[in-house]
């Protein structure tokens, strides 16, 4: 059994979080509060040292003064705390939404449209290709919102949702396996690092 106080605290908190499976209880509440508090503080410090310091202060020190614009937008977010000029924070939010949407437009257009089209354009010379092409076309028809899913369009959309559901089933099974490995990791910590029963 471990003699490290840190391992004991980690084991207590792990069991506290797992006790949630039984029902809400004081141990869970304590573990949850510590988890939220510590992680919020951790991310606060992380943001200062990994975002503000290298990306803003570091660049300003190098004389790249245009980074001050980002700093000013960041400060504008804090104007919410002063009701009279709180509206200025909207500018910073608008800038963030606008740039996010603009940059993602190109990213999605490339990865979700152009590359998918390129990948789907294959000859009908194998069962695999036929399945892929039918799946993509009917799946796309399912996400067509301008017409009611009736008749031929409805039939194609139904085939499309079947393809989608089959892929979800495969994804579900794959992810469950990944989650079980996470559980095994925590169990290994309890039985090995804490109790020392496994070597």
């Amino acid at each position: 059994m471990s003699t490290d106080i840190g391992v004991w605290i980690a084991a207590f908190l792990t069991l506290g979080i797992l006790s949630f499976l039984y029902k809400d209880n004081p141990f869970y509440k304590v573990s949850e509060s510590i988890f939220i508090g510590v992680s919020a503080a951790y991310w606060f410090v992380y943001m200062i040292y990994n975002v503000i310091e290298p990306n803003l202060l570091g660049n300003l020190q190098k004389g790249e003064w245009w980074y001050a614009v980002a700093g000013i937008l960041g400060v504008m977010m804090l104007f919410r705390l002063i009701p009279k000029i709180g509206w200025l924070s909207r500018w910073a939010v608008a800038f963030m939404i606008g740039t996010g949407a603009g940059l993602n437009f190109i990213v999605y257009l490339q990865s979700n449209v152009m590359k998918q089209i390129r990948g789907t354009l294959a000859p009908l010379n194998s069962i695999g290709n036929i399945m892929m092409i039918v799946g993509v076309i009917t799946g796309l028809i399912y996400f067509f919102f301008s017409a009611e899913h009736k008749g031929l369009l409805g039939g194609a959309a139904k085939v499309g949702i079947w393809f989608i559901m089959v892929s979800f089933g495969a994804s579900f099974g794959y992810t469950v396996m990944a989650r079980i490995s996470l559980l095994i990791g925590r169990m290994h910590f309890l039985f090995s690092d804490w109790l020392g029963l496994l070597h």
């Binding site: 869970y28 939220i36 919410r80 963030m96 939404i97 257009l109 354009l121 301008s146 994804s171």
Partner: protein, 400 residues
């Protein structure tokens, strides 16, 4: 025949029998060392070394091309490597920047400073001897305004944007734009109504990503519609978030919804509150809130990762009506399994337009549908051409 091979050949003919016998004698004496000692002739140097600024890039790169040494693959066939040398003055000193295997005819130097002139030499080695090409002409790297290799992206973006702008202008002009029913959205009223009847809260979880993610923006758009309903019905709404900027925007969204519905007095900042940026810390916090508050309806609208099932299972255990929506393919199966209704992928983006009937949102959905119709046509045509063995069409969609 390469110069090196010719010189080697002449050497053997001139020698005659006596030197040949001496040669064999030394072979026996020095065993394996003879082969290295014999090769004193360098391989022929690479020819036509050309350096130029790499086209269609953002600068910081110079490309070199050359014709292989005649002893690489042919001739003596003993070339082992090409060595790229660089200097900032023609007379040198030249420094080695990389070594490439035999057969190489091109190298992209991505360590250049824009605007600085560089000279390059390409050396060739056979493991013992080295010969150098003459220096290249001076060349410097610079950024280009356009990447012509991405012209297809520009065209696709332009056509899609044009369609969206056209349909938005139609919607603004008062034209009725049809959008089919989206399963799950009709249940929004039902879910909020149920919470009202039971006197319990409505929870809205806007995902765990920041505001630069489109799914978060779509989720907040739906939050506006849900907040309008909760304001009208007098139902309590709670929005725990894990990003500070999302908190700010969600507060604005809810405040505006309460104002629009004529109940500004019912709004307070506590409706939207921050928990933590940490993924599982956030999940633990929301789970605790669910168990204690026992909401009658829970909306998960935005980007989710591994916490999706943890949240949805807890919501299910407290008996809430759950409506999820995300475009994260790996999380959709969990929401479909644990929630009553799930908006799949693009349905999330169409949902806010469907609920609000706002011209800009409706026009955007119609514009995207036009894009899908064009893609369906392209797929049909492209597959036929590919099947007929015409592959040029599909190359138009290759991107960088």
């Amino acid at each position: 025949m390469s110069e090196k091979l010719r010189r080697k050949g002449r050497g053997c003919r001139k020698g005659g029998l006596i030197p040949l016998a001496a040669f064999i004698f030394f072979l026996f004496l020095w065993d394996g060392a003879w082969a290295e000692d014999l090769d004193t002739l360098p391989p022929s140097p690479p020819r036509e070394v050309t350096a130029f600024d790499t086209p269609n890039d953002a600068g910081g790169s110079i490309t070199l091309t050359w014709r292989k040494s005649t002893d690489d693959g042919t001739g003596a066939g003993d070339v082992t490597a090409y060595i790229i040398l660089r200097a900032e003055r023609k007379e040198g000193p030249y420094k080695e920047i990389t070594k490439l295997p035999a057969g190489a005819v091109r190298y992209e130097d991505t360590t250049t400073k824009d605007g600085v002139d560089y000279f390059y030499k390409v050396s060739v080695s056979d493991g013992v001897n080295i010969s150098e090409s003459p220096p290249s002409q001076a060349v410097h790297s610079k950024a280009q305004w356009f990447n012509f290799k991405r012209l297809n992206m520009l065209l696709a973006g332009f056509i899609l944007s044009l369609g969206i702008v056209y349909f938005i202008s139609r919607a603004r002009a008062g034209k009725e734009l049809y959008i089919r029913k989206i399963a799950g959205l009709d249940a929004v009223n039902e879910a909020v109504g149920r919470a009202t009847e039971m006197g319990r809260k409505v929870f809205f979880i806007p995902g765990i990503l920041d505001l630069d993610d489109v799914q978060t923006i779509a989720g907040l758009s739906i939050l506006g519609q849900v907040a309008k309903l909760t304001a009208e019905y007098g139902t309590k709404l709670e929005v725990p978030v894990c990003r500070s900027v999302v908190m700010v925007t969600a507060r604005e969204t809810v405040k505006e919804a309460y104002l629009d519905s004529g109940h500004p007095d019912a709004y307070n900042d506590e409706i939207v509150h921050y928990l933590t940026d940490d993924q599982f810390g956030y999940a633990a916090g929301v789970d605790g809130l669910m168990l204690r508050e026992k909401p009658a309806a829970i909306f998960y609208q935005g980007a989710f990762y591994a916490e999706s099932l943890i949240l949805a299972e807890t919501g299910f255990s407290v008996g809430a009506i759950q409506i999820a929506g995300t475009a994260m393919p790996s999380q959709l199966p969990f929401f479909i399994t644990a929630c009553d209704y799930t908006l799949i992928g693009e349905e999330l983006f169409a949902a806010s337009a469907y609920l609000s009937r706002e011209p800009r949102a409706l026009g955007s959905i119609k514009g995207q549908d036009l894009g899908k119709a064009i893609i369906l046509f392209i797929l049909g045509l492209g597959v036929v051409l590919e099947t007929l063995g015409i592959t040029g069409f599909s190359q138009l969609f290759t991107t960088q």
